[in-house]
């Protein structure tokens, strides 16, 4: 499959994420949109890595070029999982304190 398809898919997912972050006030939805952007980039990384691997394979069958990026994606997913747990914990704490998950309540940090 041509690489452009992956790029357009990632671009669409990323844009949906950006627009979601900008327009929604619900903290959980904003958070999901952030995850969407992260995974759009992850997907792009795998796609480019595969393209790179395929191109290298055509020249030499024993090459391992591009493999490392696919491994790296797993690391990113692990870190993202940890980050998600912290983010959700913050949202839970926020709800406990304000009885709301409206993101605009967060602009009064000084109180």
């Amino acid at each position: 499959m041509p690489i452009e398809y992956y790029i357009f898919l990632c671009l669409t997912l990323f844009s949906i994420g950006v627009i979601g972050v900008l327009t929604r006030r619900n903290a959980i939805i904003v958070f999901m949109c952030v995850e969407l952007m992260l995974n759009a980039v992850n997907l792009l990384l795998v796609a480019f890595s595969k393209m790179n691997y395929g191109a290298a394979q055509a020249m030499s069958s024993t090459t391992t070029a591009g493999i490392d990026a696919q491994i790296f994606v797993f690391f990113i997913m692990v870190v993202a999982a940890a980050e998600v747990s912290i983010g959700l914990a913050i949202i839970v704490m926020m709800y406990r304190n304000t009885h709301s998950i409206d993101i605009n309540f967060l602009n009064r940090l000084k109180n």
Partner: protein
């Protein structure tokens, strides 16, 4: 030899440092002894240098390279030859006498001011020596600027008086105008010849490298420099105003030495000047016009120092006439004799002013003959010398210039005679009004009249002797002399003035000038020994009395338009345009800041939005940079 020459110039500088830095520590006695002693030491060294030149000929001493570049080397060299050694003797000799005189004349000043005065005076001698000793135009220019500075400092010596400061500024600015011409001439020489040393510039070979337009341009610019320093039309009005300084300063700087720097410079460069007919004519015409203009003004002045000041301008005009007609040695001769008798006259005037408690108006003097016997007799000798009565010194030098003028152009000679008659007239008017008749001042002044102390009369006596016999250095051949001075200068002056006149013509010329001077002198004596000048009533009298309204003319024609222009710059360009631009920049920043700060509203959503917008903009630029660069390119192409 290196050390001897260095001694000549360093002694006054040591004196300057000593008096300048120690002005709060030394007593007046120490200051006076040291200041005078250093100049006397310098004089003694000059005498040795002069003797050396007499026996061994001219010498150049090299100290170090002042400027050294690939294309231009300016060595710090001194040249001691017949011309500069003569000037050395005059500067340090007359300088020592005037220092001695000043020790008594300035006695009323407090010690720090007394020291300041002598520091300036020593610095002046140093600069003047630098000017005459330098072996290239750059060193001469350094001395040239130095004497201008000292002149400024000394004219404004009594700085608490506003009009004295004004006179000092006037002198400085007028000198600067001339300096610009001198500087441009130096640049021109460097551009054409790549050197400024006399030994390389002033030779016959360089003349072939320069076109006649170059020579005329360079010499005219040099002459502009001389004009400023030596007070010629149109830059002469500073010199009479320079009389604001203490009288010994007027004697030393504004009569005997500094104002002759222009003559020294032209004599030094005579090889160039002789090859430009145009410049020579310009010099002669300006010289004789200055001589006549200043003489007419001097006739009507009532301030003792003003008369002498205009007389100086007039005599400088004679010297330039001499330079213009090619009588270089005659001009130098007149410089030397003039240094003697004009210093004498100024110091005599200082003695009178001292006795009269700072009264300078000759209408309030009179009858000082018996009260100030030494001053009287020496002043009289000075007057006779300047009037050109044989065998006093002024006669020989003036006659030499007039004879050369006669040979070149009869009109110069006739005008010169008129000037000589006026010189005799105004000098004896001054003498008769001051010393003869009855005393016209207040009783208080009369009671305090006294002869000056020995420190003041001794220089007067020495200068009077020199004024009387100084002509001996240039007795013309027809009188049985052999003109020692012309022989001295024959190595410097490229085309020595050949006496093309027959002996009888020369005798007739002398006779005519002496007769005219004698008549003018007697008229002045008979007219002014009993009475003084009233306020002038006739139109021409008023015209002369008011100095041809030249100061007023400059005021209206140059100073006021300049002030208007400055006001325009200040009120319009400065306030509207420059301040507008500066304040406008500030206002734009403030205004835009007031608008832009509304964006910073504390809502995180907005921040993210702008971040995203910024990133999108960056991407747009990044992907389209080739179009943007092309657009900028088309803009700059137009």
């Amino acid at each position: 030899m290196k050390i001897l020459v260095a001694f000549i110039i360093l002694w006054p500088f040591v004196g300057f440092l000593f008096n300048g830095l120690g002005r709060n520590y030394w007593s007046k006695k120490v200051i006076a002894y040291k200041a005078t002693g250093y100049i006397v030491a310098s004089f003694i060294a000059s005498v040795f240098a002069f003797m050396h030149v007499q026996t061994h000929g001219a010498m150049t001493v090299h100290y170090f390279d002042f400027i050294h570049t690939a294309s231009l080397t300016i060595p710090f060299d001194f040249k001691v030859d017949a011309l500069s050694s003569l000037f050395l003797l005059v500067i340090t000799g007359v300088g020592s006498l005037i220092h001695l005189y000043s020790t008594a004349y300035m006695q009323e000043e407090s010690a720090p001011h007394y020291a300041r005065y002598f520091a300036y005076l020593n610095l002046f001698i140093f600069s003047m020596l630098l000017l005459v000793l330098g072996d290239n135009y750059i060193i001469m220019f350094m001395g040239w600027e130095g004497v201008g500075l000292c002149s400024y400092l000394l004219i404004g010596y009594w700085f608490s008086n506003g009009s004295y400061n004004y006179a000092a500024k006037k002198a400085f600015i007028m000198n600067r105008i001339g300096d610009l011409g001198f500087l441009l001439a130096i640049f021109w020489i460097i551009a054409k010849l790549g050197t400024v040393s006399y030994s390389e510039v002033l030779t016959v070979e360089t003349l072939s490298k320069l076109s006649s337009a170059d020579i005329t341009g360079i010499t005219l610019l040099l002459f502009i420099g001389a004009m400023g320093k030596s007070a010629q039309i149109p830059l002469f009005t500073w010199l009479p105003d320079a009389m604001a300084g203490p009288t010994p300063v007027s004697a030393l700087i504004h009569a005997a030495t500094m104002v002759t720097a222009g003559i020294y410079m032209i004599t030094r460069s005579n090889i160039l000047f002789s090859h430009s007919e145009i410049t020579q004519n310009v010099i002669a015409i300006i010289g004789i016009s200055t001589a006549l203009l200043a003489a007419t003004i001097a006739i009507k002045q009532n301030d003792i120092k003003k008369v002498l000041a205009y007389s100086t301008v007039s005599q400088l005009g004679y010297m330039f006439l001499g330079l213009g007609v090619g009588a270089y040695s005659g001009a130098v001769f007149h410089v030397i004799t003039h240094a003697f008798f004009k210093a004498l006259l100024f110091l005599g005037a200082g003695s009178v002013i001292h006795a009269m408690h700072h009264e300078q108006d000759i209408r309030k003097m009179g009858g000082l003959k018996s009260k100030l016997p030494i001053t009287h007799i020496t002043f009289l000798i000075g007057c006779i010398a300047i009037a050109g009565v044989p065998p006093f010194s002024g006669f020989f030098s003036k006659d030499e210039i007039l004879a050369a003028a006669f040979e070149k152009n009869k009109i110069y000679w006739v005008l010169g005679l008129v000037g000589a008659a006026m010189t005799a007239f105004y000098m004896f008017r001054l003498y008769a009004t001051t010393f003869l008749g009855k005393f016209r001042g207040s009783h208080e002044q009369e009671a305090h009249l006294h002869e000056s102390p020995l420190a003041m009369t001794l220089p007067l006596i020495i200068l009077a002797i020199l004024s009387a016999v100084g002509g001996a250095i240039g007795i013309p051949e027809i009188m049985g002399g052999h003109h020692w001075l012309a022989g001295q200068l024959s190595t410097i002056v490229s085309a020595p003035h050949e006496a093309g006149l027959t002996v009888s013509t020369e005798w007739i010329l002398m006779g005519v000038s002496v007769a005219i001077a004698a008549i003018a002198l007697l008229i002045a004596l008979s007219r002014y020994s009993k009475q003084t000048d009233e306020e002038p009533s006739s139109a021409i009298g008023k015209f002369f009395y008011n100095k041809w309204y030249i100061d007023e003319l400059y005021q209206k024609a140059i100073i006021e338009p300049l002030n208007e222009f400055a006001l325009f710059l200040k009120e319009f360009i400065e306030k509207k345009i420059i301040d507008g631009a500066v304040n406008g920049t500030g206002k734009i920043v403030q205004f835009s800041a007031r608008k832009v700060r509304l964006i910073q509203n504390g809502q995180a959503g907005y921040y993210i939005l702008f971040m995203v917008l910024g990133i999108i903009t960056l991407f747009l630029i990044w992907f389209n940079d080739i179009y943007i660069l092309r657009f900028i390119h088309t803009l700059t192409q137009k």
